[in-house]
Structure formats: C-alpha cells, structure tokens
Amino acid sequence: MISRTHIAVAASAGACALALGVTAPAMAAPAQAQDKAMVSVFHGIPGMTVDVYANGDELLSDFKPGTVTDPQSLDAGTYDIRIFEAGQGPDGTPALEKQVKVPEGGNATVAAHLSADGDPQLTAFTNDVSKVDAGKARLTVRHVAAAPAVDVRAGGQPVFTDLTNPNEDTAAVDAGTVNTDVVLAGTDTVAIGPAALDLKEGTSNVVYAWGSAEDKNLALATQTFSGMESMPSGVHAGGGGAAAATPNSSDQWLAWAAAAGAITVAGVLVARQVAGRRG
C-alpha cells in the first residue's frame, strides 16, 4: 500500500519548481488540445476569502477556504499566480505570489495553504491521472496543514506514514468506501477524522489535510478525478470443457464451421479481386 512512497516524496520535493513530468494520460488528453494543461486550485488557508490572479487576469474570485476548483484548461506555459485577499487585487500587494510552470498535457493543482509553521504558502502538485487497475482507485493524501508529521490510516491500518508538509503520498487501493483518519505520526492520537471516503473504481482521489493544529481547525478536503479505469485483465468463464465436447454441442460446431466458411469465402473473394487487378 505504500509502495509508491519514494516516488511521491521525490515528486513533492520538486513541487516548488513544479515540473510536471507526467505523460498525458490517455483519458484526459482527448478533451484538450496538446498545448493545454489542466489546472485546479485548492484554498487551504483558514479564515481568508481570496481572489486568484494568473498573469494579471482574475482566475477565481471570492474563493473560500476548504474548497477546490474543477480543473480548468489553460494554455501550457509559465503563470504568475497571485493570491489576494478578496477585493484587494490586482494592483495591491498579493498575500501570496509564485511562478508556476504548466507543461502541456499536464494536470496540476496549485494549493494555497499553511506551512508546518503556519505561514501561508503556495505549492503546486502534479495530479496522477494515469490509469488504475480494474477494481482499484487511487488515493493521494497531501499534507498542507500547520501540523507535524502524520500517518494516514484506512480502516485502522496505516496507509501512509510520516507524511510531512508540504508533501504527498499515493497508493492504489481497492475501490469502495474506506473509513480514514489522520493521526500524529507514530501515535494513535487522532488529528483529523475519522471520515468516510467513497473511492469509486477508476478514479483518482486527492485528499488535502489542511488547517492549523494550533487553531484546532484541521480538516480534510477531497478532489476527485474520474476516467482512470482499466478493463479487467481477462474474463475466464469456462469450466471443465463440456461446452467444447458434449454431443449436444453440434449446433455450436456448425456455427464455428460457418465462421470458418465465411473466412474462406472472404479469402476467395479477396483473391479474386487481386487476380482481377492483375488481369
């Protein structure tokens, strides 16, 4: 369940520079032109309603804490993201500002949140919208709270351990509803939850642990991406071979014979056409 820890940590370490190295996922790509990227914004700074500007243009207004936008298709490129207290932009002093590079075909969430020490900051995360195996869902947890290292548990069992701000961890889990909570790392001291998460098959679910431990307003927010399903690896719907061998199955063998005949006939037709062209 934690097999991807090192990958996720590596991705998060690079998050400040936001290099979206993922290849364009098959399901996400068709809806957008190749020079586009999908970008969403999460607001995890308690007590502050904000406006969000990208390159001087208002992207979001009156954006409330604990909410995440639907992904928007933006031209790939570098954006100057500025966060203002609602109504203060775009000419005032931004509360937060960051250059974010959005490569084409990428999928990212820009999170405005508190650091472990409680200072507002912006972090850009790459969303993994690659396929998951049949029957699975992807669960990603991002620690964007003013809080120490935590473990994330599902059904009482640790799924992610020692997760620190502003990092994430990811795993493919069985689809279904799981009861999750967040505990202080290495302890049973519940910091957030428990909360029931409905992880639908073939989806990517990003859970933000946000807020401030000191201010006792730690909470979870969830962002879901769909369309990551895969077909089952096979359909094994046979038994002992009776249907291939019973005397009663003459009908089916006639059918197979008919099929073989059809192929033969088609083959002859093609051959004739070829011969005709030659002639």
Partner: protein, 201 residues
C-alpha cells in the same frame, strides 16, 4: 494460428431492425466486429452512480432458452473479471454501466460450463442470432430490452477494451468462454462476445 482463425467474427453487420430469423449463414459478413469494437462516439459522461432500483436481477433470451439470475461482480485478486462459480448464474460488472444505462457497455458474464461438466446458461449464447430479444429484469424498474446485433469470438487476451467502455452508445455485452479448449493452458482460450443494442420503444 487456430486462435487467430477463431478471432474471425460471427458478426452480423446489418443494422436494420428486421426481427425475422437470421439466415443460416449469418456469419457471412466478416466485418461484424463493428458493434463490438465501435469507439465511443460523442459522449464523454463519466460513470454514473447506479441507482439501487436499476440493479439487474435476471437476464433472459427466450429464443435460445437462456434464463439466468444476475448478481453484481467485480474483479478477482488477479484483476480478472469475477465470474460466478455457479454456471446457472450470471455476473454483472458492477464497476461499469448498469443494463439500461443510456451510455456505455453494460457487461454480463456467465460460465459456459462448470468444472463438473454441466453446461452453463450462457452456453446458449452459441445459438443466438441477430435480432434475438434480450431482457434484463431489474429490481424496481421495467426490464431493459435489447436485441442481438453481433457475435464475435476473440482470443481471451485480445478482448477489445471497448467491451468495458463506460461512455458512448449504449449496448449490452454478454460474455462467455469459447473453444479452443486446451486443458494444459487453463481451458478455453477464447471469449464469445455477444453485443446487443437497446430496443427502441
């Protein structure tokens, strides 16, 4: 090569709604894969929640005497579609569309036979013809009614992904196993795939 030969399709490509008995050589159009492999055309809706009342309970194809109870199934530990052990019971792939859904391919599966030698209900799929009526009885909704448009035999490892598509034109897909039967390679090597389209009105 035998598998490749069986990959040929017993398809019926005609798109008319003539419900009359299909001619004996209904396999005469080798392009019959169309219905089973048609790409999703225009819809992009994602999987919808399944209303409880729409859960399929029974599938019937009266023309060939198929009548099987249906229960929801998912995938095995190995990632294959779960198939009910009892060959008289059909499995509905609960992660995909529900029969009667306006989008995508609702998949029902059934064992063609059992380990003990009994034929399964889905063995009757070997005899379906174009136009055969398929009824899916639902818990608290009117039956979803389809008619067979194609039948294809494909090697198990070449089952088209479109069989499990969740978007695009609505179809009902019925799957079982088909010869060749090679015990030393795990039994049947092919899948029989019957595609049915919603019956209008």
């Amino acid at each position: 090569m035998a598998a490749a030969a069986l990959a040929a399709v017993l398809g019926v490509s005609g798109r008319t709604s003539n419900p009359g008995p299909a001619p004996p050589d209904f396999g005469s159009t080798p392009s019959g894969q169309r219905a089973a492999t048609a790409p999703s055309p225009d819809r992009t809706e994602s999987q919808a929640d399944t209303p409880l009342e729409a859960t399929p309970e029974r599938v019937r194809i009266p023309d060939v005497g198929l009548d099987a109870r249906v229960r929801p199934v998912g995938v095995t530990e190995q990632g294959a579609m779960t198939v009910p052990e009892d060959p008289s019971v059909s499995g509905w792939y609960r992660y995909g569309p529900v029969p009667g859904s306006p989008h995508g391919s609702a998949v029902l599966v059934g064992h063609v036979d059992s380990d003990t030698g009994a034929l399964g209900e889905f063995a009757a799929l070997y005899e379906v013809q174009r136009g055969d009526r398929v009824e899916v009885r639902r818990a608290k909704a009117a039956p979803a009614v389809y008619r067979v448009v194609s039948r294809a035999t494909v090697p198990k490892d070449e089952l088209p992904p479109s069989v499990f598509r969740r978007t695009g034109a609505p179809v009902l897909t019925l799957i079982t196993c088909a010869p060749p039967f090679v015990p030393e390679r795990g039994g049947y090597r092919a899948n029989l795939v019957v595609t049915a389209e919603p019956l209008q009105g």
